[in-house]
């Protein structure tokens, strides 16, 4: 019996393959976008974990100096002599032009077992590893990137994260020009009877990094992606809900007949659930494949974003994880169940003797609309409250969610209210308005989906546009030197700077010199600058004391970037632990940098960090002399072409990084809008099938099918336009929340909001095109419908 019930119910789809395709498409798209985002997140988090696990950092505590600078070798020797099992690591970054490599030098003889890691397993040639010139271990991906010159032989291994390399401590010391260890790894099994390490040394004990810095930094980015994935999933579920709702209405008569002929309600519900499960599993499988393709194609962009925005090294390749696929299928089933729950409850509650005529689909009562409007009001209040008084990233995202859901819930009431204001001048117009009002409940879900997609689009593009505008202006101010030069080595650079300083056409040489350190417990860079109007005249400061540049030049002050300033809640005048401590004299914006940064005078920098020497410098020169100088540097001084770049190239590269950063967001934006258009199409198809009883009488009393079809098309466009009009303020509010709340919490900087009316016009046109495409099929069908089909309505109405 169950089989007969299932096959009878399923025969519906045989007769309506298009509807089945739409349902499956909705489910597949929802699964694809959600699981794609999850795959990207999982891959990135896996990369962070692998990075954290390098040398067992996720398991081993370490000893380091309070300011993160190398510790004296004598400290290490003293601890070893006292019997403590500690192992030195020399760590640093090798830079050569654009080539960068994170180098970790270890001592395999003293390193704890957990630090040996997969990299040192297997067939490693230990003799070559120990003896000069040494051996350097890195992954395939790292080896394929541009690498600094002067590296020893490379051995490929999977156990090293991208962008990093492991070598013997002596090789690392030689390559980095640093003889003292950067930190000491602590073996968890210390000999019995020794005093705790904290009492034996002045070095700082840092616990294992279970959640590493990068994971913490990038949380907001992944949360952003997840939010987008969730939005797409929800919009996809609107399609599923519409398709299931339509099937439910169409099969009311079949369900009633089945029950009348002796199928228990339980069996009908079981049959419907099994059918849904089968459809969800097949669609989910398609969605998982699609999700994998989407994720794999977005992965290089995401890797670029994470590298550009956070300095996080993630492989641009996606691995297939069966667990991910299984969880995506589970999510599809859950989503399909959520979308179908209303239809299943409706079936369970449907009286056996209910009329089988399809009623207007999902006709919301006035009570439900009032409840929705009240919920919308409540959510808006929550959003406003959080915007004004909330703090933290979670509060910012809850504010976003409340704003979006609230505005979506308010939509039907606003539409109905708006239609109530229209005063038609003739009977036909009156019918059109009344008929539209009757359609609002049926279309509201699809229109909500469209509203969400449009608002997200406006919000995100306003944010990105504002960011681009500010970033471009900021680049113009920050990248003001005419030429940027990278020497072949530190010594070479010094010679070059000294030579060029005496050239008559050169106005100034500005060394670009920095040192890595830790400020407030987290990695940071300190830059040293010379006293020159390039900085004092052009650099934008967000806030400063009087005459900050003079204090910088005197070595009595420090400038900090906005990220550090906001993250640590600093104020002007606060002392930053650089050298003996310097007061903050100003704050500068530093877009795109994940870390804290500080600027001091060049002298102060070299005093504090004696090892810091520039390999890059900028040349201030008359712009007319730039080509000649660039040619001279390449030909006379033998610099490779890539080592001499002009201002325009630097800006272009920076903008490329910027565009790459928002590539994924843009792609998800477009996909979400596409899904929303599909949701609208599904709902219009649904209504087209159920609305014949409303249209037939108007046709019968003398309105042509063509005219009715034009009214349908016009109505779809009007509803889309109205939805856009409501989406615009919601989108702008969204942009404000993103710029003023989420950005500050997530990235540490705030941007001024700019408006881009041209973009709105384009989006408006896009919304109208989407609505036209969605309405085209149902409209054409109505224009061509056989008169007999309309006449049949009257025959069935007895």
């Amino acid at each position: 019996m169950l089989y007969t019930a299932i096959s009878t119910l399923f025969s519906h789809w045989h007769r309506r393959p298009g509807q089945l395709a739409m349902l499956m498409l909705g489910l597949a798209l929802a699964t694809a976008l959600w699981s794609g985002v999850q795959a990207i997140n999982a891959e990135a988090r896996g990369a962070y974990d692998r990075a954290a696990a390098t040398l067992g950092q996720d398991q081993l505590a370490r000893l380091e100096t309070p300011d993160g600078r190398p510790l004296p070798l004598t400290d290490y020797i003293a601890l070893r002599r006292a019997g403590y099992l500690v192992s030195p690591v020399v760590s640093g970054e090798l830079r050569d032009g654009e080539a960068r490599l994170r180098l970790l030098g270890i001592d395999p003889l003293t390193a704890p077992a957990a630090a040996q890691g997969p990299a040192l397993d297997g067939d490693l040639d230990l003799a070559r590893f120990f003896t000069a010139p040494g051996l350097i271990l890195m992954s395939d991906e790292t080896a394929e990137r541009p690498l600094p010159d002067g590296l020893p032989d490379i051995a490929l291994t999977d156990g090293v994260p991208p962008g990093a390399a492991i070598t013997d401590i002596s090789t690392a010391a030689h390559l980095l020009g640093q003889s003292d260890p950067s930190y000491l790894l602590i073996d968890p099994n210390q000999p019995f009877g020794l005093a705790p390490l904290a009492e034996a040394t002045d070095l700082v004990l840092r616990p294992p990094e279970t959640a590493n810095d990068i994971a913490r930094l990038t949380d907001s980015f992944h949360l952003n992606l997840t939010a987008f994935g969730l939005l797409s999933f929800a919009v996809g579920l609107f399609i599923v809900h519409a398709a299931i709702g339509l099937a439910f209405e169409q099969r009311r008569a079949t369900v009633r007949t089945l029950r009348a002929l002796g199928t228990p309600l339980r069996s009908v519900l079981t049959a419907l659930s099994l059918e849904l499960t089968a459809i969800a599993l097949v669609s989910g499988a398609v969605g998982v494949m699609l999700g994998y393709v989407i994720a794999a194609s977005l992965m290089p962009g995401v890797a670029g974003t994470l590298r550009g925005l956070y300095g996080a090294e993630v492989e641009g390749v996606l691995r297939f994880d069966p667990l991910w696929a299984a969880s995506a299928l589970a999510i599809t089933l859950l989503g399909a169940s959520i979308a179908a729950i209303q239809a299943l409850i409706g079936t369970a509650r449907m009286p056996l003797l209910a009329p089988a005529m399809p009623r207007a689909w999902a006709q919301a009562s006035g009570r439900i609309m009032r409840l929705q409007a009240l919920a919308a009001l409540g959510l808006m209040c929550i959003a406003a409250g959080l915007a004004l008084f909330g703090s933290g990233l979670i509060a910012a995202f809850v504010c976003l969610a409340a704003l979006l859901i609230g505005s979506a819930l308010a939509l039907p009431a606003l539409f109905t209210g708006f239609l109530g204001l229209i005063r038609p001048r003739n009977a036909f117009a009156e019918w059109v308005v009344a008929d539209t009002r009757q359609q609002v409940p049926g279309l509201s879900l699809a229109l909500m989906a469209l509203l969400l997609a449009l608002a997200a689009n406006i919000g995100v593009s306003t944010m990105v546009g504002s960011f681009r505008h500010t970033f471009t202006g900021w680049l113009d101010q920050r990248i003001s030197s005419e030429l940027y030069v990278t020497g072949r080595s530190v010594d070479d650079t010094s010679t070059l700077m000294a030579t060029l300083e005496n050239e008559p056409e050169v106005d100034a040489i500005l060394p670009i010199i920095s040192a890595e350190t830790r400020l407030y417990g987290l990695p940071a860079d300190v830059f040293g600058i010379v006293d020159h109007p390039t900085y004092s005249a052009a650099w934008p400061l967000l806030s400063a004391v009087d005459n900050p540049w003079a204090q910088i030049a005197n070595g009595t002050g420090v400038l900090v970037n906005e990220q550090l300033y906001r993250r640590e809640g600093l104020a002007l005048g606060d002392i930053v632990a650089i050298g003996s401590g310097l007061p903050i004299v100003g704050v500068y914006s530093d877009y795109g940098n994940p870390n804290g940064q500080a600027i001091v005078s060049l002298n102060r920098l070299t005093d504090t960090f004696p090892n810091a020497r520039p390999i890059r410098f900028a040349i201030r020169i008359n712009p007319a002399d730039v080509p000649a100088m660039a040619t001279r540097l390449r030909e006379e001084f033998g610099l490779p072409p890539d080592n001499v770049i002009n201002q325009v190239e630097v800006k272009r590269f920076s903008l490329q990084v910027f565009e790459q950063t928002f590539l994924v967001t843009g792609a998800l934006n477009v996909l979400t809008l596409g899904v929303a258009a599909l949701a609208l199409l599904t709902s219009l198809l649904t209504l087209a099938n159920l609305r014949l009883p409303q249209l037939a009488p108007v046709w019968a009393i003398g309105t042509s099918r063509n005219r009715l079809a034009w009214v349908e098309m016009g109505r779809s466009l009007a509803l889309a336009a109205l939805t856009f009009a409501l989406a615009l303020p919601v989108g702008l509010a969204l942009a404000w929340v993103l710029l003023a709340l989420v950005n500050v919490e997530a990235f540490g900087w705030r941007l001024p909001m700019r408006l881009f009316p041209t973009d709105w016009l384009m989006l408006f046109a896009l919304a109208l095109i989407a609505a036209t495409l969605a309405a085209l099929g149902p409209t054409l069908r109505l224009a061509r419908i056989a008169p007999a089909r309309l006449a049949q309505v009257f025959a069935q109405e007895r």
Binding site: R16, T254, G262
Partner: protein, 222 residues
């Protein structure tokens, strides 16, 4: 097993109200196996309601419905569904065919649900009802008379003991209605089923072995 002393269908003091509106008021009626009974009455007299109660599609407000001695009001939804599936053939005025199944599948539907599908017997009734050439068509491609014949074939295919027909010719013209009823009565006689048929037409009612008239929720003539 059918106890020959017990009526096949026994409706005892049936009352039914919708809200505060009474529809049936103390109706008692018995129908023996093989009997045919016409239930007549003006619109709103409660004929269809009585038929639905007899089929277990609805529950009486008071009184009881016994099928072969079993009080079907005491059964749950699944129990009543089983009675309908295995023992009752239902014919509706609106045909109630499954639109997504073709004629052959519609005819076989209830018999297959009851695990009593007999291909030869189904083919025979389809042939007798003139449906043999229509097997691949869908309900929307049939005329009203053809749809009603499919509904009759579906009701007869599982060889039910009781057929309940709600104005089976109400949607048909007089000539087609006569033909359909003749076929129905022939097949009922051949299968030995009992038939209770709701009709407005005194002319059609006369063709059945018994006629009862409902007026304002009560039996007027028995």
């Amino acid at each position: 097993m059918i106890d020959s002393d017990l009526p096949l269908l026994n409706l005892r003091d049936i009352c039914k109200s919708y809200g505060s509106t009474p529809v049936l008021n103390g109706v008692s009626l018995a129908l023996n196996g093989g009997q045919t009974l016409a239930l007549t009455g003006e619109s709103g007299s409660g004929k269809s309601t009585l038929l639905h109660l007899a089929a277990g599609l609805d529950q009486p407000s008071d009184g009881s419905v016994h099928l072969d001695g079993e009080d079907i009001g005491r059964l749950d939804d699944a129990g009543r569904a089983q009675i309908r599936r295995d023992r009752i053939g239902l014919i509706f005025q609106q045909f109630n065919l499954v639109p997504s199944l073709n004629v052959a599948a519609n005819v076989a539907l209830q018999a297959q649900m009851a695990n009593r599908f007999d291909a030869a017997f189904t083919a025979e009734i389809s042939d007798r009802l003139g449906l043999s050439d229509l097997g691949a068509r869908y309900p929307e491609q049939l005329s009203g008379g053809q749809q009603q014949r499919v509904a009759i074939a579906r009701a007869l295919a599982p060889r039910p003991e009781l057929i309940l027909a709600d104005e089976p010719t109400g949607n048909l013209d007089e000539e087609t209605g006569d033909i359909v009823l003749t076929l129905l009565l022939e097949l009922v006689a051949e299968t030995g089923a009992a038939l209770m048929m709701v009709t407005h037409s005194p002319r059609l009612a006369q063709r059945l072995s018994r006629e009862v008239h409902l007026s304002r929720g009560q039996l007027a003539v028995q």
